[in-house]
């Protein structure tokens, strides 16, 4: 019988476009120290660590986690790195949950960190082209990289294919409204990269097109930062909660799916993000959720692009495929609506420090569940080429 697993501590560092002041060592230590303090624990109380670090090239080293083991005070203990593209953080949660549920550990740390903007293009004298080039090494190395594969054009493939099937959905006015809404929500996130970059739907509509149909203000921003969670099995979690006075937020559902990276019959269906659909279905089944819109109060969806956020929400069953615009048009995510979506501002305004991102999302859902006394939250991660990876976790207030 699997053990119940709960979150008992969490912390994030500020997400910034560039951290000149800190290396990833220090960012990792900052998040760890604060997450342990939040749980009232010390390194000696932790049995092991799961690192979420996406890209070796960003950290400018292979095995980037090895120096961290001692830096965070967990030498001679279990340490495992998870790397799954954009979904790295969510997969790190999934791995940590499984180990603790299996009874291997009482309490473990989940640590996501990324220095995404140290790389630099000396021809344009700016970081962004080199960040994009670095992620460009993630395309299929035999058949796609040399065609100019980028994360943006890869997700655009899926979105354009979706629009082939549902030309009336993902209207520019709606994606602009969602981005503006997220920018408002970021205002209360003191750790967000763009905390005070509030924009109007008109500004989003008028921002430059990066890759059709994505506009500049509809795309997540690359970030540097770290996020950490402490999770524990039931008995330990309850003992910690008694000490800290903070309720346990239980991980009651976990689902993952990786699609085919080639498209066609019996392969990737280009206009779907079936990984999100399957991951959500599995997580709902485990958590006993029948109707997500009824059951879930707060969602932190991995918004690499607003259009993908909308498709993901449809794939996860909150709105119908083909009418994802009802998120706005039926007021589902508007203030006062039934669903709180990306209260942290999402990765578009909070920032995308890849390995740390979904862990930051879990931090946000836990905060909202506790602060607003809500019952159920959902954390989502997407990643890899053509939105191949999907991970969904259900979190519940004690």
């Amino acid at each position: 019988m699997a053990k119940r697993v709960g979150i008992v501590g969490a912390a994030v560092t500020p997400f910034k476009g560039k951290w000149y002041e800190k290396t990833y060592y220090e960012l990792a230590q900052m998040a760890t120290a604060e997450a342990l303090a939040d749980a009232g624990l010390e390194p000696k109380d932790i049995d092991g660590v799961f690192y979420g670090i996406y890209n070796d090239i960003f950290q400018r080293t292979c095995i980037p986690e090895h120096p961290l083991q001692g830096i965070i005070g967990l030498q001679n203990k279990f340490g495992m790195r998870v790397s799954n593209g954009g979904a790295t953080g969510a997969y790190t949660l999934s791995a940590a949950h499984a180990y603790v549920a299996a009874g291997r550990f009482k309490a473990v740390l989940m640590l996501g960190v990324e220095k995404a903007t140290d790389c630099f293009d000396f021809q344009s004298m700016s970081a962004t082209p080199e960040v994009i080039k670095t992620i460009g090494w993630s395309g299929d190395s035999f058949f796609e990289q040399k065609l100019g594969w980028t994360a943006a054009d890869s997700y655009a493939e899926v979105v354009l294919a979706y629009k082939d099937e549902y030309p009336g959905d993902l209207k520019p006015e709606v994606t602009a409204q969602i981005s503006a809404l997220l920018s408002e929500q970021a205002r209360s996130n003191n750790y967000a990269q763009r905390q005070f970059d509030q924009v109007t739907p008109e500004e989003v509509l008028n921002s430059r097109i990066v890759v059709e149909p994505f506009k500049e203000l509809e795309i997540c921003v690359y970030s540097e930062g770290a996020a950490a969670l402490v999770v524990a099995e039931e008995e330990t979690a309850r003992a910690i909660a008694n000490q800290t006075g903070q309720p346990v937020v239980w991980i009651t559902g976990v689902g993952e799916s990786n699609e085919h990276s080639f498209a066609g019959r019996n392969h990737k269906i280009m206009h779907r993000i079936i990984s999100d659909h399957i991951a959500a279905r599995k997580a709902y089944e485990m958590a006993g959720i029948k109707n997500p819109l009824q059951a879930v109060d707060v969602v932190e969806v991995h918004d690499a692009f607003v259009h993908q956020l909308e498709i993901t929400m449809a794939e996860m069953g909150f709105v119908p495929l083909g009418n994802a615009d009802s998120l706005i048009e039926d007021g589902l995510i508007l203030p006062g609506g039934p669903l709180l979506l990306n209260p942290c501002g999402g990765l578009i305004y909070s920032g995308h420090a890849v390995g740390a991102s979904n862990i930051m999302s879990a931090w946000s859902v836990r905060n909202e569940l506790i602060r607003r006394r809500l019952k159920t939250g959902l954390v989502h991660g997407t990643g890899s080429t053509i939105a191949q990876y999907g991970v969904v976790l259900i979190l519940e207030h004690d």
């Binding site: 000149y20 630099f120 000396f122 065609l147 100019g148 054009d153 493939e157 097109i209 059709e212």
Partner: protein, 328 residues
């Protein structure tokens, strides 16, 4: 272009600098993490050798379920408990599986190719789609030109090295019946010169006056650009004569090694044609009030040759240089 696997101009000098934040100094070092390879194409060698040496596209067919995969990325069918597959030769026409995205902003490695489409081509008889670059021979590549279901023909580059970029595809509708029927059609056999110019809206007195006013402003702006050393550097060594067609009139934009001139009307042969129904689109782009690239993406500006997008890029740089030099 450099023939090295890393372009020499992309490599920084060995040095560093200091950034001061809140009174503390932070050392920032120029650095690189690089690895060179001699990488075998292994079981994929047949596919790449066929592209390079025979101008053929290979796929594989499962001996059990008959699924045809292109490219042939497996030697056994994972759907049939790893039954063996056999190699099949594919044709070189097919349909787009979905509407492909177009890249205009590329990193340094792909700067020479923009704008390019990248999409999935379902070759006739195939069950899986091949990722391909997409171009047009009829002018600049813009959204809407190639969509889901558009019939495409695979074109082989004249200089092939055994990489996926040895091929690209163009809309079949742009080719003659003979070209369509020809196997292993090469890039040099295509007509890249005859473009399909978008029609200009009918123009009256209002358009003519607008055109004259814009032209005057443009001439003043070009004068400023020629007086700006930074802007001149952006077109150093570059020579182009561009015929600009707008509602209300035509003029010629000449780029000659640092010097930009605007001459009324057509002045002899041009390297390419620019069509902008509203000439203010061009003026705004050069004045750094708008963006020429955005104008192209939104189909408010058209150029007759895809490859001349790099001239547009240079003009945008000039606009930025002038704007920045004014700020200082």
């Amino acid at each position: 272009m450099s023939n090295k696997v890393i372009p020499l101009e992309a490599i920084p000098d060995r040095s560093g600098h200091t950034v001061t934040i809140d009174g503390r100094n932070y050392l920032v070092m120029n650095d690189a993490m690089f690895t060179f390879y001699q990488r075998s194409m292994g079981e994929l060698s047949d596919f790449f050798l066929a592209l390079r040496d025979e101008k053929k596209i290979l796929g594989c067919r499962c001996t059990k379920c008959g699924m045809v995969r292109v490219p042939p990325f497996v030697t056994r069918c994972p759907d049939c408990n790893f039954a063996p597959v056999e190699t099949v030769e594919m044709g070189d026409t097919g349909k787009m599986l979905a509407t492909p995205p177009i890249t205009y902003f590329a990193n340094s490695l792909f700067q020479q190719q923009v704008p390019f489409g990248r999409g999935r081509l379902l070759l006739e008889g195939a069950d899986t789609a091949l990722s391909v670059n997409i171009y047009t021979t009829k002018g600049i590549l813009v959204p809407g030109l190639v969509k889901k279901g558009t019939e495409m023909k695979v074109i082989f580059r004249d200089n092939r090295v055994g990489e996926i970029t040895d091929i690209f595809c163009v809309p079949a509708a742009e080719l003659t019946a003979d070209q369509l029927a020809q196997k292993g059609l090469t890039a040099s056999a295509l007509d890249w010169e005859t473009s399909t110019e978008p029609a200009l809206p009918p123009a009256g007195e209002t358009e003519a006056q607008h055109f004259a006013a814009v032209l005057q402003e443009l001439q003043a702006l070009v004068g400023e650009m020629n007086g700006c050393e930074r802007a001149r550097k952006d077109i150093a060594g570059w020579h182009r004569t561009v015929l600009v067609k707008a509602a209300g009139g035509e003029f010629t934009l000449k780029i000659a090694d640092g010097e930009l001139t605007v001459e009324p009307d057509k002045t002899g042969p041009s390297d390419f044609v620019m069509v902008c129904p509203d000439p203010k689109v061009l003026l705004d782009g050069l004045a750094y009030r708008g963006s020429l690239t955005q104008a192209i993406m939104t189909r408010n500006l058209w150029i007759s040759k895809n490859i001349e997008f790099n001239t547009i890029f240079k003009l945008e740089r000039m606009a930025r240089s002038l704007a920045r030099s004014k700020k200082v």
